[in-house]
């Protein structure tokens, strides 16, 4: 099964770097003027990148169940 990662809207991202700075796993980096996942497997989907994004360019979706 594919690893689910935060969705990054690259058309909206302004490369401010807040998500890179806050990521506790150091999973993100900039490549060719785009934020990408360096090692996707290290991303824990903690959603701190979504919280830190001033452009609302990152989406982490959760289903809520019992």
């Amino acid at each position: 099964m594919d690893l689910v990662l935060p969705e990054i809207d690259r058309a909206v991202c302004n490369l401010c770097g807040n998500c890179l700075a806050i990521c506790p796993e150091d999973s993100l980096y900039v490549e060719s003027d785009q934020i990408v996942f360096k090692q996707p497997v290290t991303c824990t989907y903690c959603a701190l990148c979504e919280e830190a994004c001033p452009q609302d360019a990152i989406r982490c979706e959760f289903e809520i169940t019992w």
Binding site: Y45, E50, E51, F62, E63, W66
Partner: protein, 224 residues
């Protein structure tokens, strides 16, 4: 023209006489909107009253800062933008956006006013509808003003988990969307979710928030 049955399926019209339903069907039009399309902008001149035939819409207001407060999520059978039909300035009181593809029944304001003037069953149904909305908004204001974010978030999680158990499709929420539902902001929701997890109330595992302690969550939500 819409069928009488289609009109009668709408909550506001469900108790009306056949003759009134017939008049409504004659002046109604159906409009289709794509997912995410903005249907109404707050403060624009109101052109009609709207009813959801299928799909879902959200009714929301936006602050100058860009912060969004969702007032209601409406689905098939429910209505919006009734209030401007009875006010002098006739402006939309809130924004409305399609959550998924929607079909709406629309009645131009002048036609709707005339229908209410001529049909006492519709006028009574409308009073009942406005009373229900008044109660809903009073409860929302009470929740925002009296309960802390922890309580509002706990209540939201319980409601959504209960709904999830009763439906066959998946609904996923971002922290920003949860925040707009409970009158908070994204980072506060994120912080509170992490507190809940540390305290053993929920378990978060990629795209999945699982509620593990109903009793404690209900205590937080003041529902016990």
């Amino acid at each position: 023209m819409l069928s009488i049955d289609q009109v009668k399926n709408l909550h506001l019209f469900s108790t009306l006489r056949h003759a009134t339903l017939q008049q409504i069907a004659e002046v109604s039009v159906v409009r289709e909107y794509k997912k995410d399309a903005v249907i109404l902008f707050e403060k624009d001149e109101a052109d009609g009253v709207y009813f959801v035939l299928d799909g879902k819409v959200k009714v929301y207001r936006t602050a100058v800062s860009g912060r969004e407060q969702v007032l209601m999520v409406l689905q098939a059978g429910q209505d919006f933008n009734l209030v401007p039909a009875f006010l002098e300035n006739c402006h939309n009181p809130a924004n409305v956006q399609a959550i998924d593809k929607v079909n709406l029944l629309v009645i131009p304001i002048q036609h709707f006013k005339r229908l209410v003037q001529n049909n006492s069953d519709l006028a009574l149904a409308l009073l009942e509808n406005f009373s229900e909305k008044l109660i809903h908004l009073t409860q929302k204001i009470t929740s925002i003003s009296l309960f802390p974010v922890r309580g509002r978030l706990a209540k939201f999680l319980i409601e959504q988990a209960d709904l999830s158990a009763s439906r066959s499709y998946h609904v996923r929420w971002t922290q920003a969307e949860i925040a707009s539902q409970i009158g908070s902001v994204r980072d506060v929701v994120g912080r509170t979710l992490r507190e809940f997890e540390k305290q053993g109330l929920i378990h978060i595992n990629r795209q999945h928030i699982r509620l593990v302690n109903r009793a404690l969550l209900e205590l937080e939500a003041n529902l016990e």
